[in-house]
Amino acid sequence: MSDQAYNFAYLDEATKRMIRRAILKGLAVPGYQVPFASREMPMPYGWGTGGVQVTAACLTPEDTLKVIDQGADDTTNAVSIRTFFERTAGVATTTQTAQASVIQTRHRIPEEPLRAGQILVYQVPIPEPLRFLEPRESETRKMHALEEYGLMHVKLYEDIARHGEISTAYAYPVRVEGRYVMDPSPIPKFDNPKLGNCPAIQLFGAGREQRIYALPPYCDVVSLDFEDHPFTPSKADHDCDLCGCATSYLDEVITDDQGGRMFVCSDTDFCETRRDAGHRGRLSPEETA
């Protein structure tokens, strides 16, 4: 199946070695952004070129790959990236979280807890959590080196002063092993608690910005907050209308122009597995028929 004109998983071995070195360094210094010589990939920057390069460097022929975008396996870009690796690496693919050894994701962490031996690869647009406070890379690198995170706390404080709470709903900054402040990629802050103490390896790839960073298994990850304004993960105040789950992250789907809407699990594999097991929600087909 794989296109013979290209090396296994598209990238040449020297490039993969360069990326693996960056990954290993990232794992050794959790939360630190390792510069790497990102290559031009056959998909545009912003489509997950960092994640694709990290996945390509991790894949072995025995791996089973799952690709999700917004939690779903069937969104167009997830389909496109999965097809890319089917073509260039010929690896087995799956939509089931438990079956996958490597999972590439954009914007979500699967609902089903990850296990040891799995690798979760995040696509990252802006790896620098301080970027919108300080646009200069030369400055932000210094701030990380000196552990100078006061600016971030001032920003969070100003949020509270203005809105009564920290008004960051996704890409919510975390502190890793008490050292580096890290951008967890634009996952909803609902997913933040899953970052820490996770048995799986978590790798973050930013292609355009040429950075790789990592969370080794069982790493300590704390979402930034204040004692009197503790971090709270949030989700829509509903149950899934298809599987009835009350604890999963939900997408809001507009169903008509009269304000009608339904809420469904953003993790499609999780939702389908529950429905197959007999769970039903408010709008499950049997009940609406």
């Binding site: 920057y45 647009p125 030369s138």
Partner: protein
Amino acid sequence: MYVATKGGERAIEAAHAWLAEERRGDPAVPELSLAQIREQMALAVNRVMAEGSLFDPDLAALAIKQARGDLIEAIFLIRAYRTTLPRFGASLPIATEDMAITRRVSATFKDIPGGQILGPTFDYTHRLLDFKLAAEGAPVPTAACKPADANPAPHILALLDRDELMEPLEHSDATPPDLTREPLEMPAERALRLQALTRGDEGFVLSMAYSTQRGYGRTHAFVGELRIGRCAVEMDIPELGFSVEIGEVELSECETVNQFTGSKTEPPQFTRGYGLVFGQNERKAISMSLVDRALRWQELGEDDTGAPAQDAEFVLYHCDNIQATGFLEHIKLPHYVDFQSELELIRRLRRDAKAPQQEAAQ
């Protein structure tokens, strides 16, 4: 009902098929050949080669055809292809003083050794639509020829150099850094800045250069020399023990003469800006040399006036149109999850903001 995010695979296939049909256009109109694009859209081909960082007119023509004439898309195709090519080695530095010149002008001296050659330029054309071109089968235009000037055409700035009016060139045999192999890190040395600029978006580099002319980091530039032509590319072959010519590339080279630097101990000297681009693309070459000069403020002991063109981080991180267009256009990809979290947040903030008002009203 919940099918909006289903069927991604079918949608992609259908979109690709439609795109292929649109690319071909009306089948009653003859298909473009690569040779037609290469020969008659040469300046588009040049731009794709320059910003794609790959000198291959046929591949650039193919990319333009495949991209339906979208040059940034064509540049992207070339970049993605280029990155897969094995590297056998590096050429020797190109000797632009030995260029087979097709165009050479100096804005600083009326007559120059080797002569001024206007060459194939739009400069003095009147921009009137030539409706004769709309008719096909016009006679093939021909231009008069004369034998090439046998006299050498040294770089004009080298002549000023001899009188010590120019800041001296710093010679170095160090291997220049390569931003396609190493991540861009700041501060970037001049060789790296020049590499980024020559690959940079023509429009961006042009606007940056233009801003320096209008006062945002003044460069006071004169075009000391602009030369366009073909240069031999030589490579050392270790097995042979000498270098052989492996091909030719067309280049546009621009050297600007800019206002002085100097100090109490050093008399003032003119300063340099440099631009070098694949193909005939003098707009890009001139723009590049102005931006290069503006970025050199620190080493020349000038003040940072806060102008965008003086800011290496700003210029270098934003001049690449493949990075820019990718990140810009990615916002059309699904962001349901992030938007959902923002929806929840704004609803909560609005509810909290309204609550005290309602209490007060009661």
